[in-house]
């Protein structure tokens, strides 16, 4: 997809490429943190008031503001955040008093588990359906599997989640309705997340596959007498996977941070939920920590995807070297 970025690294060894990408990440993270800091500072809502609750006398609020350093100029506060962040200190949550980094670290595995399983489900559904759909374009199978795949993305996530709970927890009693007890509790949330991504992966696989099976080298393979399923699985799939992997990467990144509704429905203790709660509590350190962390995770996933390309597409790999 974005080959031009990779081309920049032509003739550099792989590690230089990675370093360069990590280096490019810094200004984005700095920009993100500045934007978030500004949003948190200049939108209504006083963190001190929120901490103290509904019955806080004005003096108490003022005192707390002073104590929290909220009266310092914006630049001073931002600089001190960045200064601390560089040393790995993301500060403490306004509302819980916990170290932000520690809490992210304790919740991130949950988010990662959920996102990984969600993406796996999406791949298991999306890639085969996309291939079948593409190889039988405009057939009944194509139309019906696309409609089914699209239904996944057409349902508001929380609604789908509630329905799944009703079916699998209440009526069938097979799976827990929420929380994070054992690994069976991850199935429903992952399914909820996965169906949305499955539709996107299906669509991408289908259109990528449609494009690839019209390529000359597929005709060459057929002209060689290669059996059709081998044409698809050996010759077409690997080529078609490159844009699909991009989408999978994007979806994975998106699921890492965008699973708020699902996390709420299933009371899943993830980072997304933590972020939204923090936003609503005006808990600036937590918001900054989670957003920056998720943005970094998102970028790293994309970097991993770019590296993965190299293993699939030798043309790209040669550019790393």
């Amino acid at each position: 997809m974005e080959y031009h970025l990779l081309l920049l690294s032509d003739r550099y060894p792989m590690y230089r490429f990675i370093l360069k990408r990590l280096f490019l990440l810094l200004p984005v993270l700095l920009g993100v943190s500045l934007l978030v800091f500004a949003i948190m500072s200049f939108t209504p809502g006083d963190p001190a008031q929120l901490i103290l609750g509904e019955s806080a006398p004005a003096e108490a609020v003022a005192e707390l503001r002073e104590e929290m350093g909220l009266n310092d100029p914006f630049i001073v506060r931002y600089a001190s955040f960045v200064g601390n962040a560089i040393t790995g200190d993301l500060g403490r949550s306004y509302s819980t008093g916990r170290e932000v980094f520690g809490e992210i670290a304790s919740r991130f595995p949950n988010t990662l588990t959920l996102a990984t399983l969600g993406v796996l489900i999406a791949i298991v559904i999306g890639v085969p359906v996309g291939i079948i759909s593409a190889t039988r374009q405009y057939s009944l199978i194509d139309s019906s599997s696309m409609v089914v795949a699209l239904l996944g993305v057409s349902m508001p996530n929380f609604w789908l989640g509630l329905m799944l709970i009703l079916v699998f927890s209440v009526n069938l009693g097979w799976l827990p309705s929420g929380g994070f007890s054992d690994w069976s509790s991850v199935i429903l949330p992952a399914l909820t997340l996965g169906t949305g991504s499955a539709a996107i992966i299906t669509r991408m696989t289908r259109s990528s596959m449609l494009e690839v099976i019209r390529q000359d080298y597929i005709r060459t393979a057929r002209a060689k007498g290669v059996a059709e399923n081998v044409v698809i699985n050996r010759h077409a799939l690997k080529n078609a996977l490159i844009p699909v992997i991009t989408v999978i990467g994007l979806q994975f990144g998106y699921l890492l941070g965008g699973a708020v509704l699902t996390e709420t429905v299933y009371s899943w203790p993830g980072v997304g939920r933590m972020m939204v709660d923090a936003i609503r509590q005006k808990d600036t350190p937590t918001v900054l920590g989670t957003v920056v962390f998720l943005a970094a995770a998102f970028s790293l996933v994309n970097l991993a995807v770019d590296i993965l390309y190299g293993f699939i597409d030798p043309r790209i790999k040669s550019q790393y070297k």
């Binding site: 978030v36 949003i39 139309s143 057409s154 508001p156 019209r214 972020m275």
Partner: protein
């Protein structure tokens, strides 16, 4: 005689057929012709027409003041009946009437938020792509930053700073999709920028603004339209999501997402409260997706037969 064929992947005769066609018909007519043959896309279009129809004639179907927002607390959470086709909600309001009027709001939020995003994102993308260099770099890095900030934070920020009303809601949804339109438009502009007809326009002394808006934008429109159709779907879903976390439309205005999110506690006791808005959202979004996919196929010569 043969240079053109090297890049193409279809048999010559087919290419010849598609190439000679525009002589007879305008480009959009051709897209329409292609779309017309895509059953799924037409299904989507029919659904959407019904939805638009409902939106346009909502007032004729049910009066806003006396039916849509009128509470009838003695008829709370009634199931579907001859009087209330889709039952009533927790205030005894007619869900059918609210669904019909909700079409307006849902569509308006969907379409306008996408329009806002296209206008802002498209302009930024066009400028970035057309001028390139430093400006491009700055614009796109800022877009990257916006892309990395969770849309929910942007939405909450806008709603809490500017207040929760329809316009701000649309703005909140639009903001988070600006970067993706900027990217799409920039990519098309980049591919168009150095083409000969642009050179020609420049040679006859057309201004940059004229070149961008008269020559580049119309040609970059196709991917934006596809993205836009899918974007409307996403916007409707986002509205529902924002309603879920409590930042939806202002009550008592009916809106599908808000009806769905608001009715979720009745899911097990009064199925009709969430089922109808849920189905409406689902079918509309399905229709938008089918139409969007159909448009993509129709606009992308590579996927044509």
């Amino acid at each position: 005689m043969s240079q053109q064929i090297t890049a193409d992947t279809l048999p010559e005769a087919v290419l010849e057929a598609t190439r000679s066609a525009p002589k007879k018909r305008s480009q959009w007519l051709e897209v329409w012709q292609h779309l017309k043959r895509n059953k799924m896309a037409m299904f989507g279009l029919v659904i959407l027409s019904l939805v638009v129809f409902a939106a346009v004639f909502a007032d004729l179907i049910a009066d806003y003041e006396t039916v849509v927002i009128a509470q009838n607390l003695s008829d709370r959470l009634q199931g579907p009946s001859a009087q209330y086709w889709m039952g009533t909600d927790e205030f005894g309001r007619d869900i059918f009437a609210r669904m019909i009027h909700g079409t307006r709001v849902s569509l308006m939020v969907g379409v306008l938020s996408v329009a806002i995003a296209i206008m802002i994102g498209g302009t930024l993308g066009a400028v970035a792509g057309y001028y390139g260099g430093r400006l491009d770099n700055i614009i796109m890095r800022v877009m990257d930053i916006f892309l990395a900030v969770p849309s929910i934070l942007l939405a909450i920020a806008i709603v809490s700073a500017l207040g929760a009303n329809l316009i701000n809601l649309m703005l909140a949804i639009a903001v988070s999709s600006i970067p993706s339109y900027a990217r799409v438009v920039r990519a098309s502009v980049l591919s168009l920028r150095d083409q000969e007809f642009i050179e020609a326009a420049r040679a006859i002394g057309a201004s940059d603004t004229r070149i961008i808006f008269r020559h580049i934008v119309p040609n970059a429109l196709a991917p934006v339209i596809v993205q836009g159709a899918l974007g409307v779907a996403t916007a409707i879903l986002s509205t529902a999501g924002l309603s879920f976390i409590g930042l939806g439309i202002q009550p008592p205005e009916p809106e599908w997402g808000a009806m769905l999110a608001g009715g979720r506690q009745y899911l097990r006791h009064a199925w009709h409260v969430t089922t109808f808005p849920g189905l409406a959202i689902m079918i509309t979004i399905l229709a938008l997706n089918l139409l969007g996919d159909g448009l993509r196929d129709a606009l992308d010569p590579r996927l044509k037969h």
